[in-house]
Symmetry: C2
Subunit: 140 residues, 2 copies
DNA sequence: CTACGGATGCAAAAGCTTCTCATTATTATC
DNA sequence: GATAATAATGAGAAGCTTTTGCATCCGTAG
């Protein structure tokens, strides 16, 4: 009874090989932020024959279950990362694609205040800072 | 010599009928935030025969020229709005699609600080707050 | 007014994501 | 452990937004 299968069961999802492999992939990947295509290709390289449609379906189910978070970075396609409970926002390098994370309570607080002032009941937010990372700056 | 044609010339763009009509559309629209499809359909309704490909091309040129800003709200497709010089962020209703705008100097400042702390040279940022707007809340 | 180069429209194609449906695997029950 | 009901999967087709190729058209410098 592995940790992964428990996560799946707790999420109300049947324990299937594709779901296990995708979850393991997300946990073990060097890169925290992966596209569906990334996950698909990595699985192929590991010798796992899992269809791209299944990868998309499973990632969406994981999102609904709260196991992963979906992000819409610039570039159009969705990026997924394991949800470790802690909310955070992202700062991305426009040169190399590097992604760093941060959390700023001052910003979080101001956001809640802004929503309240505008009469909105806040459900979510997304904040992306784009720039040139230290490595790319020194290379230039 | 209308204001619109001057804007185009200043941006280094030839003054063509499609570009004029699209610019007028953006200026006169009730809704500040429009998709390419929105612009295309509105032009059709006004009796202007402008191809969708041209709408996309022109909006991209306007963006490059700094005449419009492109946003990536949830839902995948790009939204455009006339650039009036002032930077602002957005708060959106997940029920009805309403879009409100805000600018918070505290958040702007914190963002610059976060980028600096992470060693990034900031180029841009995008902040979207999602929630339920006053109207939709009272209806529920 | 002419001629050149850029702009346009249409259709085709691209890129990402979802859907359809026949087949297969999982799980509750015996 | 075998069985039946039910859900999940894979392959390809389809959907949507956006881009591109190319023949034709138009704006503008001269
Ligand atoms: Mn992250
Ligand atoms: Mn706006
Ligand atoms: Zn970089
Ligand atoms: Zn609303």
């Amino acid at each position: 009874m592995s940790t992964e299968s428990n996560h799946l069961r707790k999420a109300g999802l049947k324990v299937t090989l594709p779901r296990m492999k995708i979850l393991e992939m997300l946990e073990s990947s060097e890169t925290r932020h992966l596209s569906a295509e990334d996950v698909y290709k990595s699985l192929l390289e590991s010798g796992e024959e899992i269809g791209l449609a299944t990868v998309y379906r499973v990632l969406t189910q994981f999102e609904t279950a709260g196991l992963v978070a979906r992000h819409h970075f610039e570039g159009g396609h969705s990026m997924f990362e394991l949800n470790e409970g802690d909310h955070h926002d992202h700062i991305l390098c426009v040169k190399c694609g590097r992604v760093d994370e941060f959390m700023d309570e001052t910003i979080e607080k101001r956001q809640r205040q802004i929503a309240q002032d505008a009469g909105y009941e806040i459900t979510d937010h997304s904040l992306y800072i784009y720039g040139i990372c230290p490595d790319c700056r020194s290379k230039a």
